[in-house]
């Protein structure tokens, strides 16, 4: 199969869906002529014109709200927000309007709204451009939370997002745009709520998403050299969450490590751990390990930035703790 970049896969999804459905349009800062900061929308202005590919002023609350209103009125807007950090300016529109509209109207109203943005650390862009904020959206009933880790999922999930009727927080990662992977051409659709086993293994289940997938896969390769076979499960969508695939893997390996880039406190990993202990307590042979970001804003300094989010060595250590590898069990004390 051909290999393309994550950002090309996203562009392909947008292109195909804009061609299929004249109600799909994109607004955002610098997305038209400039093609977006990560070049996801490059070329779409020439193809679809200024009516459906529009630059906006720097007005996140306004543009997110306008997107939500357009969705309520039957269009299929995609609002691109440069950094997930900036989505905070539009939280009322996301949390109080988009997420609640369906219930507030007794099930009558629909909000087929997609907010595309990116987060994550590692770019030296410091505390206001590096966060992983999925837990904020995960916490709000009514939002779908999508976090693709590979190009094929990026394409398939975005196409699906544009065919369903609920507000979607489509959270990309700044370090994934240039990564390559095999992507089917044409109608490749990934439904929400279907996890993907990114690597099969029998000894331990690593649950991770977004940029923590490539990092977990690297850790798994190193562990394999030591005879430990990790299974890497990528939920792909945090809401809805594919509990079945997770629990099936837990029943197979009996050990769980959950990896998230976001800060530990109040995170999605903690909630997944809670689901596992509730539904598969007797399958567990070790405490569930969580590898997460420090409870701190992301610093600028490269070494400090690295220290604030999970690294490959942190994942390896957590796996070994869960397997009671002696020296690592000590380290956990």
């Amino acid at each position: 199969m051909r290999e393309i970049m994550y950002r090309e896969a996203l562009r392909e999804a947008l292109d195909e869906e804009m061609q299929r459905d004249p109600n799909v349009f994109v607004i955002g800062e610098g997305i038209a002529e400039r093609g977006g900061s990560y070049k996801v929308t490059e070329g779409l202005l020439a193809k679809y014109g200024p009516k459906r590919i529009r630059d906006t002023p720097i007005a996140e609350a306004g543009m997110i709200g306008v997107g939500v209103g357009a969705a309520i009125a039957g269009a299929r807007p995609i609002v691109e927000i440069l950094y997930v950090d900036f989505a905070m300016l539009g939280m009322d529109m996301i949390v109080n309007q988009a997420a609640k509209f369906r219930l507030m109207t007794g099930g009558e109203g629909r909000v087929p709204f997609v907010l595309r943005t990116q987060g994550g650390a590692g770019g030296g862009v410091a505390a206001q451009h590096s966060q992983s904020l999925e837990a904020l959206f995960y916490h709000i009933p009514g939002l779908k939370v999508v976090m693709p880790s590979v190009p094929a999922d990026a394409k398939g999930l975005l196409k699906y997002a544009l065919r369903q009727d609920d507000p979607v927080m489509f959270l990309e990662h700044k370090h994934l745009y240039m990564t390559k992977g095999p992507v089917p051409g044409g109608e490749h659709i990934v439904e929400f709520g279907k996890a993907d086993i990114k690597r099969a293994g029998k000894d331990v289940t690593i649950i991770a998403w977004s940029n923590m997938i490539p990092r977990s896969l690297e850790a798994a390769e190193s562990l394999a050299a030591e005879g430990i076979e990790a299974e890497v499960v990528d939920p792909r969508t945090l809401v809805p969450l594919d509990e079945e695939t997770i629990l099936t893997s837990v029943a197979k390996t009996h050990r769980v490590v959950i990896v998230q880039e976001a800060v530990r406190r109040g995170g999605v990993a903690s909630d997944i751990a809670s689901i596992i202990q509730e539904k598969a307590f007797y399958e567990l042979d070790a405490p569930i390990e969580i590898v997460a970001g420090l409870n701190v804003p992301i610093p600028f300094n490269l070494e400090l930035e690295k220290a604030s989010v999970p690294q490959k060595s942190d994942i390896i250590a957590a796996v070994k703790r869960s397997l009671y590898v002696p020296s690592y069990a000590m380290a956990a004390e």
Partner: protein
């Protein structure tokens, strides 16, 4: 400005009667609704539109099928003026399954998407971006539909006011922003909220054609909105209308509104929009007192019937709710 519009071609009896019926229907809904609230039949908040009826009445009479409105927390009047079924509105306030939102929304969330009513809103100011969004969706569809957002003097100090009106302006959207300037943000006087109390000037500052009008004159509001909607459909939108008005009571039913000076209240009560709609019907089209009485009795009976309908309706069950919630 109001005087200019009033001089236009004499309005038809049909229009004058429609305007009076709508304004009076809102008045009855709010007056009788407050009684139901005081009887304990309505939970939560109830923000009466009493005193402001002229604005929703005049604006909605000027719009067409296929157009959109977005409303505020004080939204009953907008819904009624838009043609909502009073039975389903009362049912919603009484949290019944037959209500517009099946009892899931209540007073602050009544919406009717199929009819183009994007809904009331519990967040002050939120209707403005949502309305601009509907206008954008219409433009992308190639429709000439106009969207009106009713907003408030209080909301005009919110950031989304500028952000979304500016978007409507740069994209030439068919959008009319109606600021119902009732001069109070809950209990804070407009003079304490802003240095420039002529709010229409804010539109001028970003290149939006803007007007100020007496919001208690439903006919003048109607004529101005007709002009505004025509301009929008001719590609000259958006347009801002500041309609000055005054509440007849506090922010909500349980707010006595003691901060509202009596002389100001008296001034506006002497310019009551219902009286003006009634007088116009009598003076311009020569309606008889008996005809007015008949309309008023009919509307009062309609409300009584709506209360009966709501009381006899069932509520959504906890089991149905659990099924609904499972999709989340």
């Amino acid at each position: 400005m109001a005087a200019v519009h009033a001089k236009k071609n004499a309005p038809s009896r049909e229009l004058l009667e429609k305007i009076f019926r709508t304004a009076y229907r809102i008045r009855v809904f709010e007056t009788e609704g407050i009684k139901l609230y005081r009887q304990g039949l309505i939970r939560g908040y109830f923000h009466p539109y009493l005193g402001q009826e002229g604005i929703a009445t005049g604006v909605c009479a000027a719009l067409k099928e296929g157009d959109y409105i977005a409303s505020t927390h004080r939204g009953h009047g907008h819904c009624i003026a838009w043609g909502a079924d009073v039975k389903r509105m009362v049912a919603e306030l009484l949290q019944k399954e037959t209500g517009y939102c099946r009892g899931y929304g209540g007073s602050m969330h009544i919406a009717d998407i199929r009819a183009g009513n994007l809904g009331a809103n519990g967040i002050v100011g939120a209707g403005t971006p949502l309305g601009v969004g509907a206008a954008l969706a219409a433009q992308i569809r190639g429709s000439d539909a106009v969207t009106v957002t009713f907003t408030t003097d209080g909301a005009s100090n919110n950031g989304t006011f500028l952000e979304s009106l500016n978007l409507a302006a740069i994209w030439n959207l068919n959008f009319i922003l109606v600021i119902e300037n009732n001069q109070y943000a809950v209990s804070t006087r407009i003079e304490e909220s802003t240095r420039e109390t002529d709010l229409y000037k804010r539109g001028l500052s970003i290149g939006v054609e803007s007007h100020q009008i007496d919001g208690n004159d439903p006919l003048a509001v109607y004529h101005l909105t007709i002009e505004a909607a025509d301009k929008c459909r001719a590609g000259k939108g958006p347009i801002l209308i500041e309609a000055k008005t005054f509440r007849h009571m506090g922010h909500h039913v349980n707010d006595p509104g003691k901060y509202m000076p009596e002389d100001r209240l008296a001034y506006y009560k002497a310019r009551d929009p219902i009286d003006r709609a009634r007088n116009a019907l009598v003076e311009i089209s020569g309606a008889e007192k008996s005809e007015i009485d008949a309309i008023e009795s009919e509307i009062a009976a309609e409300f009584e019937e709506a209360v009966g309908f709501a009381k006899n309706s069932r509520e959504v069950t906890a089991e149905e709710f659990r099924q609904f919630a499972a999709a989340y």
